[in-house]
């Protein structure tokens, strides 16, 4: 079973987690001032990269905390996990997976 390295609990099985979509998407400060196209982009458009992807994950059946993870969308390897509010770590896809 795939192990995910929760920043609070350590390595735990994948079934305890839930993915919450792409990370680091900031809601505009003043939504009323945003153009329709930009608002549509904020709501619906995601990067969908091949390779490293920063995602939000919830350890729902564990500590109950959200955190961010860098996951390789090709190999499904979790390269890094980090707490909410921290910047995206500077890693490349060849980095050692955090759950190795």
């Amino acid at each position: 079973m795939l192990l995910i390295d929760c920043p609070y609990c350590g390595k735990r099985p994948e079934v305890e987690f839930h993915c919450g979509g792409e990370a680091h998407i900031a809601r505009p400060e003043t939504p009323a001032a945003v153009e329709d196209a930009d608002w549509g982009s904020f709501l619906y458009y995601r990067t969908n990269p091949k390779g490293l992807h920063a995602e939000r994950w919830l350890h729902g059946h564990g500590c109950g905390r959200w955190f961010n993870a860098l996951r390789d969308t090709v190999s499904d390897a979790f390269v890094a996990t980090y707490e909410m509010g921290r910047p995206r770590p500077d890693r490349d896809a060849a980095s050692q997976p955090s759950n190795a």
Partner: protein
């Protein structure tokens, strides 16, 4: 706080069952308090009304005298979340004492005694029985005595404690209790 909590009752389950070397028994009624506070709001205090809150995440610290009433057990389930175990008849007393000890701080303390049911799984091979439906590593190194965590058993969310090398408790929501109990009995009946 409700004066009379009519929901504080155990589910209607048939009596204790023992299979092979692993025994599965329903615990006596217990007081449970869901306690949440930001660690910063504790302001370095380690002891709130006798509960030791200093343990690392996913650990269990039991303080106090004796086995029954008076023991105060704190299960740290997350960075800011504890499950406090007290005697079944001292929930209101403890709630008021914790509230008084933390006056001025922002916290949440909810009586969930009636929400959960606890099963004791004891005997040689108890870890194998639980691992039949629980995916976490229950080896002595990864989940030593004194560990406690929220996890899954089959399709039900549980809080798992390790009290001894071959002694666990499995706590689930009351509505999941017949499923959890049946799951454990089946697992004990068909060891692998």
């Amino acid at each position: 706080m409700l004066e009379v909590n009519v929901a504080r009752r155990a589910p209607a389950l048939s009596p204790v069952v023992s299979q092979a070397s692993v025994a599965i028994a329903q615990s006596a009624p217990q007081g449970r308090l869901a306690f949440r506070i930001r660690p910063a709001a504790l302001a370095g205090r380690s002891d709130i009304d006798g509960f030791d809150l200093t343990g690392p995440i996913n650990s269990r610290i039991s303080a106090g005298e004796g086995d029954g009433a008076g023991r105060r057990t704190a299960l740290r389930l997350g960075p800011d979340e504890w499950l406090l175990l007290v005697g079944a008849d001292e929930v209101d007393e403890r709630s008021e004492a914790i509230g008084a000890a933390l006056s001025g701080a922002a916290f949440s303390l909810v009586d969930v005694s009636h929400r959960d049911v606890t099963f004791e799984v004891t005997g040689e091979g108890a870890d194998v029985v639980i691992n039949a439906g629980c995916p976490i590593d229950l080896s002595a190194k990864a989940f030593p005595v004194g560990s406690a965590t929220r996890t899954l058993l089959g399709k039900a969310e549980i809080v798992l404690q390790r009290l001894g090398p071959d002694s666990f408790t499995v706590t689930s929501w009351r509505s999941f209790a017949p499923y959890v109990r049946g799951f454990l009995i089946e697992a004990a009946r068909h060891p692998h």
